[in-house]
Every structure is written in structure tokens, then in C-alpha cells.
Amino acid sequence: MQQLDRRHFLQSTSCGFGYLAFSGLADAASTERKPLFPARAKRVIFLCMSGGPAQLDTFDYKPQTGKKPHPGSVYSFSQHGQSGLWISELMPETAKHADKLCVLNGMHADTGIHAQSFLQLHTGDRLRERPSLGSWISYGLGTPNHNLPGFISLNTSRPSVYSSAFLPSIHNGTPIGVNGENMSEATIRNVDPARFSLSEKRKQLDYTQFLNQNHASHRNDPAGLDDAIQSMEMGFRMQTAAPDLLDLSNESPATLERYRVGAQKGPVGTCRMSDFGRQCLLARRFAEAGVRFIEVNHGSWDQHKNHRRDLEANCEVTDAPIAALLEDLEQRGLLDDTLVVWGGEFGRPGLTPDNGKNETGHNANGFTFWMAGGGTKGGHVHGATDPTGARAVEGKVHFRDLHATILHLMGLDAEHLTYSHAGRRHRLTGPEGGKVVKEVFA
């Protein structure tokens, strides 16, 4: 029935066709849907710290106990905010927002292999291509802004981490900046209006849509044709919406300075150039524009041999932009329904103070994530590792639990957000399922 109406609509609007709002024709696959139960968060900004951030030198304070030196924190920590959250000296700006952070110190994962754990962090599966968290959320909730994709991944790496896999491809992440591309030039592919002005392009598109309308009116089943008509319209709208959002020239110098846009001088050891400030500022702008899931990336925190030098660089590059993002989200009233998540594929064992060593490996048995906003408790710590930070002992949270919790905050139920493919029903949290960590809810 709806298809007939649509065809009728196409046939009856031969004049000024392209100027008509296409809102009624919005792609069913991406139409905004109501959450299953009241959502605390409407969107997610995932600050993805690839390589395995050293939790003991940032957010999981492990002072020396007893007489014999043991692995632990090798930087000084102090308490911050009214909550008295312990945060290391390497994160002075983020520390100012201590009362917003909900720190998960009992994270654990299945493997210390980067590629596998990184994939599992994103998709729930270590080996196979599965839909990414952002794709599941886009699938579950649709997107409120039809001028932009529902899932954007900045400074991203291999496609399997932002893939919609077997979910409809409209839920694929849209990459901006892949594999270390210069972020100040990175953009959505082909989004900048080339050759013709937008008003000329509108006239061109009007003629194309007039031809399409003629074409469709001779064919009874609009399957495929309507979708193509709509995707041209959305593509057209993205040309206006996306370049504006990507263009930071209307941001004040003070804002650019707060975010440290373009401030990174060069790579230091494992700490790569990521223009992290630009990414955070873009994330804020996409969040304001209604994008459902935004991932920003910095790496690598895999500082094996020069632990101190590279960790300091990674912290310095990310600390101020994160603080600016939290500040702006709060100031705009967005923090209430924007869930910010910080973490990487695993953590690292601690160094032992004063024993001369400066090398760390991987630790998947205990590490840290933090969340802020989106209905989580501020200034709160959930879970703990043992006195040397070697493994999670309390409030243990697996990636599956993290995923279930994020979905729950978005008003989705990980048990029931499923998709049938290859003979069985799939869900983000896999056959094992995940436990919602309700203790972190405000």
C-alpha cells in the first residue's frame, strides 16, 4: 500500500520535484526507531585508545604496599573533585572532570593479541567479521539526522572494525581518515561539491529525478528504484551538511586552542600523529548534529620498550582534547544524553618503581575503561584489580558486559537485539551473552 502511494506521489509531482522534502521517503532501514525501554543516552562517543593503555599509570592507582617493591603505578597520583577520584599526574586536564567519570577498573578480555582483542572490543568476536557496536546501535535505533550517516569512525584502521558485516549496509560505519591519513585533510569520500555549485547541482539532480520519475512511472514495482532516488537525495544533502561540519574555520581560536587542534608536533615512539584535538572537536560537532555513534581513535598505546617516554606523549596528546570535549558537552547540556567511553583492547602490567626497567607488555586480565555522561554515575569507581594490578578481582567486566551495558544505556537489550544470518540468530554479545553492569547507572 505504501509503495502504491509512493508511486502515486512520484507520478503526481512532476513540477519542482526535487525541491520537495523527501522526509516521507526516508530510507526505512535508517528511520529513527524508538528504543525498547527508556534510553539514558541517545548517542555514543567512543574514545578508542588502541594498543593497550597503561591503566596503572593513568586511572588505576596502585601504590606500593609492604616492604618489597612490586609492580604498580610509577607516576604520582592525587585525588580530584568532590568524589576524590585518583588520577595520575599524566592526565591533569581530564582530572579536572573527575566528578564526571565512571571508572571501570575490573575490565578483562580473552586475549592479549592486539588484532583479535581490538576486533572483539568492536564486534564481540575475535576472529570473524561481525557487525561493529556502532552498526548494531544504528540498526537498533536508526538515525535522527538524515543528512548524515548514523555511525562515523574517525582516524580508523581496517574496515572490519567499522563494518556492518551481515547487517544491512546502510549501518556500515562511514570512515573519515583511514590508516593514519592526515586528519586535517581527511573527509567523507567524494563529499565536497566538485565542479558545480550546490544550486547548479540541485538543478542537475532535479532533471535526473525528473528522468527517474518518468522511468519509475512506467514500472509498477518501485523496488530498488525508490532507494536509488532517495540515496541521491541523501547524497545531495550530505554535500551541504558534512563539509560544513568538517570545516572548523568558524570555531574560535580559543576553542581550537582548548582542543589543541593541530598542536601535535610529531610522532614520539609509538605515539602517532592523530590530530586528536581535531577528532574530539569533530566528535562534538557530529554529536550536536545527531550522529548516533562516533568513534575517535588514537594510538598506539603499545609502548613496549620506551614505556615512560611514549606513555607521556600519548597522554599529553589526548588529555587536553578529552577535557575540552567533556567541558563542551556539559556546557551544551549534551552530556546528559551523550555517553562517552574511553578505553582500548587491553591494558598493561605495571612497572616496578626504581628497578631500572622501562618496558611493559600486554595485560588482558585486568585493565581500565571509563565512561562519562549518558546516565552513568560521575566520580564513581566500579571494580578493582589486585594490589599489583595484574588481574581484575572485583566488579569484573568483560567486553560482552561492556557492550550489553552500552546497549542498555541506549535503551536496547543485548539479548533481543538480534539478526538472523546463516541459519542462526546473531547478537553482539554472542552465545555467551553479556551482563548489564547496573552499578554504573546514575
Binding site: 584502521s157 565542479r195 535526473t208 547524497g235 540468530r425
Partner: protein, 759 residues
């Protein structure tokens, strides 16, 4: 010779109307299997409500809540109440099925709940199967009542089903539609305007002759091999680099293009498919009369070396990861059986055990995979030998070529020393397979872990294919890997799946949908054929005709079914929305390659000669370090550089697969990125400019517009298209740059649905 005598009869539901069976198999059974069997079948861990839904008897008897259904009366059927979620029972418990699926169940009960399932079970590989579940393992069935020599056998088998449901098919398409369809389906290129006009004339005089002449002309065209070779390259997950190894390294395969050229030539020469299979699986083991033949057969085995693999670094399973890709190629690519899943455990659904997997794997562990230097980065893969070709021309890089992608030592940042390759510069090389000196059975890897080894499993074929009474007729000569025996077994005319799987792929490319909608999976959870008799008779006909792809295609495209118009009346749309009963042709969107090729043809810039070699043929590099390697080209898309994780930008937006595993079918998604590409990509402007340039020198607006229509749509504009076209041209008029308006105009046409879809 094929020892396949399973102990149950073919479940073809003889007393059920075939349209009802198709309805059940396509709309009802898959839903029952996916959404209900978990709790309501004989194999359920805990049976829900004492209700069995996995047999005709069970679903009719009902469970502890009462009778599940009353045939003919959906309103009173408990099953429908449960699905509706409006009464006490809510099933499936997690979330309701979609209204369309519930409507299917209502329709099914209204029809009297016709159900071909007998409830008879068969025990295979320790699992219990519904009758008919293992349909693809059954021998091909020839209906004695008619012959595939009858030129109308395809139509007869399709039309049989219509009488019962009183369906009326659409009429034959117009000459215009037919010449478009045939050109794209057979060659992937549009006809020229003049050819359309001539064909229309010939068709109105003598339609059958005109069609036959056209079809034979297209089958003879060298572009046939480019089109159908491309289809096979999808199955072959062909690519010219390994793809991300999990550590962001992506090693080039500089010699993979030889396999591409081999495939194109095979289709142009109409190499019989059984021979094509033999050469790819075991070409290195076949005798060769000439050095050319030897080279060609070695190149064919490249199929098993071009797969993607994870990094070697810290990966104990590296060798077995390569083998898994090879076994998957055998399973998904040739047999339509998901064997690769049994690497870690017995298959959950299909009758394939882990032992079966390692029996096949042993033939590949007994073979060396020659993929080459892997970008000279041992952490991604240790270097291997390559086949040295005897008859191919020596190919040196251009004299001024300098490799700009340099590997660096991670510790010092200095360029790495790369050992000189063992071959003289310019030596023609090919990827592929060869037998190891001492072939051996593979040991079972417990849970797929190459460190936890079980017993060696004798090399052979899966047990389900072996006769129960006597040991397998499959035997491997001493000192051989067994690949040749495997290839011969697969290419045997009595193999139940090889021909079925292949003809189904061919059908899919000519109708947009296979008779089996899951072309890589003919197993328990794959789709069932909508037309099992047709599938079998096509396969028999194909074998009978010497496994000739061209003859098969010829038979199909000369059928009424193929030639029907895709324009569907409302009444038929209601009766058969998905066109399961083949009462019409399907409108299809051009795939990525055809869209690009069509643009080049429209602009006149298309270079019709084959592209030579590859952009990376002299470069053993990590392509992830290279930035954008692609360059504009005027050759057909098949000759572009298919790098995994770095696809040609002109194709990327249009559902180009990732080529990580055999491609079952191309998606036809619509994404805004496609619109953006069509609006803004330089390739589209280049074609638009060429069209604009051609019309600038013409006299009048009308002449010019007509010329653009002829080049792009191969037809003349109607008055409204002319009038509105002039409006567009005037609105973009720029006296200094008269071509601008024409570029805009041409682009409007190139991005329209008429250009992107084929009726």
C-alpha cells in the same frame, strides 16, 4: 563411479502441489528452522510445551496447549495466535516475527498447511536430519517423462507450476529491452545506438532469427570472457594483495593477474567446466602436451594461493589458516557445502565432521602454497617459491621505474635490506600449488588449535559421500597429495553438487537470483531450490553438453523465461511479489564494474582491448605503505587493480565485495556514498566532459540533446525530456565556458536510474 547411495528416498512431496511446496520451502520452513526449532524440535535441548514443529505430524498434533493449527483456518489456529503476540502465548519469546512473515503463515494455513516433511529422520554424521534436508547430496534426477533435448525444457519445467496457482506470465520484452539485457548479461557492455536500431528492425521482421544471431554474436565476443570471467573471479575471491593481515600489513600479489587472464581466456575458449575445475584444483599434476599448456595449468592453481591470510607473527596456526581458506574454496566455491566450519568442531548443522575437514585438509597440507615474497615482510608471511613459466614473455619494469615504497627497520628507521630474489629480473612467475615431496595425512587439530594435535586422519572425501557398505572408492596414489583424485571426484558427472552449484550461479547471473538463493550453501541451512526439477535438468543438460558454459547460457537466454519483460502488472505483483515462480524477468542494478564500463562506453573513451598485466606487477611491496596506488584507466574494470582493503575507487561505492572469501552474490545496497560518488568523482566528470565535447560542435540544442540521449540511453528523447533538458542547460549557461552546461547535462543522464538499471 560415485559411491553415493544414501538410505532414504528423495523427499519431493509427491502429493503436494509444487507451488505449495515452493511456498513452504521458501517462506515457512526457513522461519520454523531459524525461529522455532531451537525449542520445538526433536533435537531441542529442552522441548518447549511438548510441541514439535519439525515434522508434519508434530505441527498438526500440537503440544500441551492444544492443537497448533487447523488447516484452512488461520483465525482459529493457535500457532497464529502465538505469532501475533496478542493472546496469552507469545512466540518466539524474544520478539515477534515481522507482520509479513506472520501473513505468510496465515496464507500457508489458509492453503491447508501443505507440508512435505514426513517426519522421517535420517542419521548422518551423528546428527538427525529431516527428510529432504540433505537434498543436495542426492543424485541428480532425470524425469523420464521428458527430455532436455526438448528445446523448451526450461519453460516446461517452469510453467508446470503456474497452472496450479493460475499465474499468468508477462509477455516477451521489447527488442530494445532484449538487446540491452543480452548485451549486459553476456558481455557486460551496452550495445551501440546503431546496433539497437538495426536489431529492432531485424527483430520486427524475424524475431527468432534476430535473437539467435545476436546471442551467437555475443557468445563469440571477446567481451564474453571478461564478463563471465569476472563472475568467476568473485567465486575465486580474486585479489591482488593479501589484505590486512591483522597487523595492518597488506602484502601485494604482483603475479595474481595471470590467474585473472587465465580465467578470462578459459571463458572465451569455453573451456569445459569439469576441465576448468581440474586445472584449478590440480593443474600442476596434470600431464601437459606443450609448454604452453603446462604454464596455463600451473597458473590455474593460483586459485588456491590468492586467498587472504592472517599474519605469521605470533600465529601458530598460520599454515592451517591457509589450508582453511583452501578447504573453504572447495566447499563454498565448488560444492556448496560449508566444510570450513568443521575446522574446530563437527559442523553444527551440516553432515560434515571435523575428521572430514582434516581428511580434505591433508591434501592441502601435502601441497605447497606458492604465494611469493609477501611484501618481503616475514612477519606477515614467510617468503615462498613461485612457479616459473616457460612460455610467457619476460617482463621487466620500465627502465625509469624506481620503487618508492621502502620497508624500514622498526628499531633504527633505516631502510631494510631486502635479499635479492632468486629469479632473474623479468622472469615470468605465477602463484599456485605443487605437491610436497613427502605428502602426509593431517592430524586433527583439537578445537582448531594447531598445537593440540589428535590422530592423523587419512586423506579422503567426507564420509557422507562414501558408501556405507564398502570402503571408499576414493584412493590416492602413493607419494601424491591427493588433489588430483579430489579434482576428479569433484568433476565426476555423478557428483551431486558440482554441476548443480555451477548452473545455479549461471542462472543467478542471468536472472538476478539463483534457483537456490544461497549459491555457496546448498546445505541444511541454505535455501532450498525454488525449482528443484529445473535445477537438476539444467545440471544434466550442462553435463550432457560437455560442461559447456556457452551452451548452457545459450539454452537459458533463448528460453521464454529469460526473455520476458520485467514490467509487471499489479495483479502479478500481488500474487508473486518476489518472482519466485519466474513469471517475469527481474530488473537488475548494474554492478560496480558494469556501471563503470557503461560510463566509459557512453563517453566513447572505453579502451576495448584487454588491459595488460597489472599496476603492481613489478612491486613486491606492502600496499598499506603506498598510499593510493590506483591510476585512472580506460580499460574495462576487470583489468583494474583489485587490492584487498584498497579497492579501485571507481568501484568501491557500489557493493564491491571484500574478496576475503568466495562471493556468493553481489549485494545491491543503496548508500549515500553512491550518490556522492556520482555527484563528485573525477571519473564521472571525465566521462561527462567527453560526451559534452562530442556535442559542442553540433548545431541546435535539439540535435545536441538528442545526441547525448543516443550516446547514454541509446534512444531519442521525448518532447518533455527535450523541453526540460533545455531548461537545465539554460540555467547553467556560462558564455565563457559553453561546455559546462553540457557536462552538467550529460552527468544528469549518467547518474539516472535508466542508466543504472537493466529491465
Amino acid at each position: 563411479m560415485l559411491p553415493l547411495l544414501l538410505s532414504w528416498s528423495v523427499g519431493r512431496g509427491s502429493d503436494i502441489a509444487s507451488s505449495d511446496r515452493v511456498f513452504f520451502e521458501n517462506r515457512i520452513r526457513p522461519v520454523l528452522a531459524q525461529s522455532c526449532y531451537e525449542c520445538h524440535s526433536a533435537t531441542a535441548e529442552k522441548l518447549g510445551g511438548k510441541l514439535l514443529l519439525d515434522s508434519r505430524e508434530g505441527i498438526r498434533t500440537g503440544g500441551e496447549s492444544g492443537t497448533a493449527l487447523i488447516p484452512g483456518d488461520p483465525e482459529e489456529s493457535l500457532l497464529i495466535h502465538a505469532l501475533q503476540w496478542e493472546h496469552d502465548l507469545e512466540m518466539p519469546p524474544e520478539q515477534p516475527l515481522t507482520p509479513a512473515v506472520i501473513a505468510d503463515f496465515e496464507e500457508w494455513i489458509r492453503r491447508g498447511a501443505p507440508d512435505p516433511r514426513s517426519g522421517k529422520k535420517s542419521e548422518v554424521a551423528g546428527k538427525s536430519y529431516d527428510e529432504g534436508a540433505l537434498w543436495s547430496f542426492q543424485p541428480l534426477v532425470q524425469d523420464p517423462s521428458f527430455s532436455t533435448k526438448d528445446s523448451r525444457f526450461i519453460d516446461l519445467l517452469i510453467e508446470r507450476q503456474w497452472e496450479e496457482s493460475q499465474l499468468t506470465a508477462t509477455p516477451r520484452a521489447t527488442a530494445r529491452e532484449l538487446i540491452h539485457r543480452l548485451h549486459f548479461d553476456l558481455t557486460g557492455l551496452p550495445p551501440r545506438y546503431g546496433e539497437v536500431v538495426e536489431f529492432e528492425k531485424a527483430f520486427s521482421a524475424e524475431p527468432e532469427t534476430a535473437l539467435t544471431v545476436l546471442v551467437d554474436h555475443l557468445l563469440d565476443s571477446p567481451h564474453f570472457g571478461e564478463r563471465w570471467g569476472r563472475h568467476w573471479l568473485d567465486v575465486a575471491r580474486f585479489a591482488e594483495s593479501n589484505g590486512n593481515d591483522g597487523l595492518s600489513r597488506n602484502a601485494a600479489f604482483p603475479h595474481a593477474w595471470r590467474y585473472r587472464d587465465y580465467v578470462i581466456a578459459a571463458f572465451n575458449e569455453d573451456l569445459p567446466f569439469d576441465r576448468f575445475l581440474l586445472e584449478q584444483v590440480a593443474g600442476d599434476l596434470l600431464p601437459a602436451d606443450t609448454p604452453e599448456q603446462r604454464d596455463r595449468q600451473l597458473i590455474a592453481t593460483g586459485l588456491f594461493a590468492i586467498g587472504t591470510k592472517p599474519a605469521k607473527a605470533m600465529n601458530n596456526n598460520f599454515d592451517m589458516d591457509i589450508v582453511a581458506d583452501q578447504v573453504d574454496m572447495i566447499g563454498s566455491g565448488f560444492l556448496g557445502v560449508s566444510i570450513a566450519c568443521a575446522r574446530c568442531h563437527d559442523h553444527k548443522f551440516d553432515p560434515i565432521t571435523a575428521r572430514d575437514y582434516y581428511a580434505l585438509a591433508g591434501m592441502f597440507t601435502s601441497s605447497e602454497t606458492l604465494y611469493g615474497l609477501a611484501g618481503n615482510e616475514k612477519l606477515t608471511a614467510p617468503p615462498t617459491d613461485l612457479h616459473v613459466l616457460k612460455t610467457a614473455e619476460s617482463s621487466l619494469p620500465p627502465a625509469d621505474f624506481v620503487e618508492t615504497v621502502i620497508l624500514k627497520e622498526s628499531a633504527t628507521g633505516k631502510p631494510k635490506k631486502i635479499p635479492a630474489p632468486k629469479w632473474k629480473p623479468g622472469t615470468p612467475l605465477a602463484m599456485g600449488l605443487r605437491d610436497r615431496k613427502e605428502p602426509a595425512d593431517a592430524k586433527l587439530n583439537i578445537k582448531g588449535d594447531a598445537k593440540k594435535l589428535g590422530d592423523p586422519v587419512p586423506r579422503g572425501i567426507p564420509a557422507i559421500y562414501q558408501e556405507k557398505e564398502k570402503p571408499s572408492a576414493f584412493s590416492i596414489p602413493e607419494g601424491k597429495s591427493g588433489r588430483l583424485a579430489l579434482a576428479k571426484w569433484m568433476a565426476d558427472p555423478e557428483h551431486p553438487q558440482t554441476a548443480r552449484v555451477y548452473v545455479n550461479r549461471v542462472w543467478m547471473h542471468l536472472f538476478g537470483r539463483g534457483l537456490v538463493d544461497t549459491p555457496n550453501d546448498f546445505g541444511v541451512y541454505g535455501a532450498r531450490p525454488t525449482h528443484p526439477e529445473l535445477l537438476d535438468h539444467l545440471a544434466l543438460h550442462f553435463i550432457d553438453q560437455g560442461w559447456s558454459t556457452k551452451k548452457l547460457i545459450r539454452s537459458i537466454v533463448l528460453s521464454d523465461a529469460y526473455q520476458r519483460t520485467s514490467r509487471v502488472p499489479d495483479s502479478l505483483l500481488e500474487q508473486d511479489e518476489e518472482n519466485l515462480w519466474l513469471t517475469r524477468q527481474n530488473r537488475r542494478r548494474l554492478d560496480a564494474e558494469s556501471l563503470r564500463d557503461r560510463m566509459l562506453a557512453a563517453s566513447g573513451l572505453l579502451e576495448r582491448n584487454p588491459g595488460e598485466g597489472s599496476l603492481i606487477q613489478h612491486r613486491d611491496i606492502l600496499v598499506n605503505l603506498a598510499g593510493n596506488l590506483h591510476e585512472p584507466s580506460r580499460h574495462r574494470s576487470i583489468y583494474l587493480c583489485y587490492l584487498r582493503n584498497s579497492p579501485p575507487p571507481e568501484l568501491a561505492a557500489f557493493d564491491l565485495p571484500s574478496f576475503l572469501k568466495p562471493v556468493a552474490k553481489r549485494e545491491a545496497s543503496t548508500r549515500p556514498g553512491q550518490g556522492l560518488y556520482l555527484f563528485n568523482h573525477p571519473f564521472v566528470f571525465t566521462q561527462s566532459e567527453a560526451i559534452a565535447e562530442n556535442v559542442l560542435k553540433l548545431e541546435s540544442d535539439e540535435e545536441q540533446i538528442t545526441r547525448v540521449f543516443r550516446e547514454v540511453f541509446l534512444r531519442d528523447p521525448d518532447p518533455e525530456e527535450l523541453y526540460r533538458g533545455k531548461e537545465l542547460l539554460q540555467s547553467i549557461e556560462d558564455p565563457d565556458r559553453p561546455e559546462r552546461a553540457w557536462v552538467a547535462f550529460a552527468q544528469s543522464l549518467l547518474t539516472s536510474n535508466e542508466f543504472r538499471y537493466i529491465d
